[in-house]
Symmetry: C2
Subunit: 131 residues, 2 copies
DNA sequence: CGGGTAGTTTACGTTTACGTAAAGAGAAAG
DNA sequence: CTTTCTCTTTACGTAAACGTAAACTACCCG
C-alpha cells in the first residue's frame, strides 16, 4: 500500500490542478512534509484532500472546511470545545438535510420533465421510449 | 391569493437583498413587469426566484439555472431540443446523486463524531448525554 | 411644503478560488 | 554539458455574485 504521494499523483487521482492543491496548503488546509523543496503528501494529507473536495461539492467554503479540521484537531479534552463542536455538527446537519430535501425535489421534477419529454417524443411516432 | 409582489416583499419572504433580485434580472433570470419604473413581480417570477435560490443551495451557477430556464421555455416541439434536454437532465441527475451520496457520507461521519464527543463528555462524569 | 419611505440607475469595490505567466532549482537522459 | 521534466515561488489576473455608495424619483404623511 502506497504511503506517500507527489502533488501530481494526487492531482491526477482527484482531477484537480496542482495549483489548487498548493492553494489549499496556503489556506492552511494541508501541510505536506518536504523533501528539500518538494512536497511529500502522507495518507492523512490524501484523506484531507478527499474531504476538501467533498466539501466543495457540497458548497462548503474552504474556510468552513478548515474550521472543521481545526475542530477535529483541537483539544478534545476541553469540555467547552466539545460543546462548541456539537453545535457546529448540529448546524451542519440541518444545512445538509435541507440540501437533501432540495435534491429530492429536483430529482422529482427531473422525473416529471423526463417523462413528459419522452411522452412527447412517443406521440411524434419516433418512440425511442425504452432508452 | 396574492397575484403580484414588490421587490421588498420577495426579498423579505426569501431572505435575499433587493440588490440580489435585481442582479438576477440583469443576468436574464427574471423579467418582472413594470409600473412606471417600478418592478412588479408575478407568481411566475416568484416561482422562478424560488428555483434560483434552490439552485444556489445546490451549488448551481446562475448561468446554469438560466440555461435550464431557457430549455424549459424553448420550443418543446423541436425533437433536437428535447433530446438535448434529456441529456441535460441526465447530467444533472448524476451530479445530484453524487451530491446525495456525499451528504449521506457526511451525515454518517457527523453521527460518529457526535457519538464520540458525547461519550467523552459522559466519561468526564458531566453526563449531558440525553440532550 | 418639508420629510420619510421605497424604489430606481449607475458604477465602482470586494471576496473566493483558483488560472496563468515568469523565472528558477534539481534530477535524469542523451 | 545541454536538454527535458517535474516541481517550486512569486505575483498579477479573473469570473461569479453580489455589497455599497451616490444621486434621483415618486408618493404618502402631517
Amino acid at each position: 500500500m502506497q504511503t506517500t504521494y507527489t502533488i501530481t499523483e494526487l492531482s491526477r487521482e482527484f482531477d484537480v490542478t496542482p495549483r489548487a492543491i498548493r492553494f489549499y496548503e496556503d489556506q492552511g488546509l494541508l501541510s505536506p512534509a518536504r523533501e528539500g523543496r518538494r512536497r511529500v503528501y502522507s495518507r492523512r494529507d490524501r484523506v484531507r484532500l478527499k474531504l476538501i473536495l467533498r466539501g466543495k461539492r457540497l458548497g462548503f467554503q474552504l474556510s468552513e472546511t478548515r474550521a472543521l479540521f481545526e475542530l477535529y484537531d483541537s483539544d478534545h479534552g476541553e469540555t467547552g470545545q466539545m460543546q462548541y463542536f456539537l453545535e457546529k455538527i448540529h448546524e451542519r446537519r440541518e444545512l445538509l438535510e435541507q440540501q437533501r430535501r432540495d435534491i429530492e425535489a429536483v430529482l422529482g421534477e427531473l422525473d416529471v420533465a423526463e417523462r413528459s419529454v419522452r411522452e412527447a417524443l412517443r406521440v411524434k411516432g419516433l418512440a425511442p421510449t425504452p432508452a
